[in-house]
Symmetry: C2
Subunit: 234 residues, 2 copies
């Protein structure tokens, strides 16, 4: 790798994921990991492995809608079939993260109960298998308030910072940078999405070359989810 380079490598050959599958083992069997790598795993794979699937009536849209409401603590907006709501984690997203794509007919996938813990479990499993110090990000595909198109963001992380606080560092003119809390976990998740592609069955990717200073214990819930008191738009 050249100086400062970042590489994003899809993990090829992953099987269909089922409840009880050990994602760390499935990934470690297929990826040549190196110390300092950040492994990104999609929410869909994590939710399936953790058995976060519920039955719905595929012919009754109210069935899916009921699951969305039961996964929401607050509904912010509705438009047609779309519900924008807040989940128990504090994420604000479409349909509370409840998703029908790439699951069996008659089922929907829910978000993991604690995605940071899901990330830690995968990280611990990868470390046990490889002996390497690694980061893990669990990613999901969210919309944005004022920008069209979806991007992948982090819903959980372990062994890598969610937000890197550069406040107080100096810019090139020796002036303190005003706003430089960079959400590296979301940028890592988005970079991984570029190689995973939703319909191609690649639920994991390896991001190599992340700044070693970011490889600390991180938490999406503590670092990224914006507390209500800071919210200008709810």
């Amino acid at each position: 790798m050249s100086a400062g380079e970042l590489r994003v490598l899809p993990v090829h050959g992953m099987p269909e994921i089922h409840p009880g599958d050990v994602l760390a083992d499935l990934i470690a069997d297929r990826a040549e990991l190196e110390s300092g790598d950040v492994v990104v795993v999609t929410q869909k794979a994590v939710s399936k492995a953790e058995g976060r699937l519920v039955e719905v009536d595929p012919h009754d849209p109210r069935s899916h809608h009921g699951v969305v409401l039961s996964e929401s603590v607050r509904v912010l907006r509705r438009r047609g079939d779309l519900v924008i709501s807040e989940t128990r984690h504090g994420f604000i997203c479409a349909n509370a993260g409840v998703d029908r794509s790439n699951v069996q007919d008659g089922q929907v996938a829910l978000l993991p109960v604690d995605p940071d813990r899901s990330a830690r479990r995968i990280r611990d499993g990868l470390r046990a298998r490889s002996g390497l110090s690694l980061g893990v990000v669990v990613s999901d595909t969210f919309g944005r308030t004022w920008r069209r198109g979806l991007t992948d963001v982090a819903i959980g992380c372990a062994g890598v910072a969610a937000v890197v606080d550069l406040r107080g560092t100096l810019d090139k003119n020796g002036r303190e940078l005003a706003v430089t809390e960079i959400c590296v976990a979301d940028e890592i998740a988005g970079a991984a999405e570029l190689v995973m592609g939703k319909a191609h069955g690649i639920p994991a990717a390896v991001v190599r070359g992340v700044d070693p200073g970011w490889l600390r214990e991180g938490s999406v819930l503590n670092e990224i989810v914006r507390p209500h008191r800071e919210d200008l738009f709810r």
Copy 2:
């Protein structure tokens, strides 16, 4: 490169940018470009090259604030010094994108007048120099409504799609994917941020390995900026 891999390469050795500088030449002199690469350039570099700098009184915060208001078509929220407003382009961001960091004391940088056009100009210059078919993304650092931390997003693009519409493609179970308009330009900008780093003087990066199907003529303004009629949160 291995199958499906993405590489993100910082462009090292860029000089301080001044009004009138030709960014395409400065980049082409320093990067070994290949056909299909997407070159990401920061807004700050583009604004400086285009002379989008205005004088402010560094001792009077009202001076900076007045520029922010003159760059805004609508103020959405204020909290302390922070203004969230809509720019003439339709971007909703802090301080209308007006920024003091990494510019000379007594100056602030404004967003480019037409960032898609800025991207096209850089793309045309790179093509003239190299003969290669390339994409260009102009990136800036924006906050998000409900997530802490900033990420880099696209404010202009050329030669690469802003949003890739996968609606109508089938998931692994042959079911039509419901929401799969992926904003690849924002994910490319975020990936580049991971190697550029705000305080290290790297205003450009090369993203290699982007899906060739995305290398069409794109536009951030037409594809990403959400029209008022679709806005649920203004």
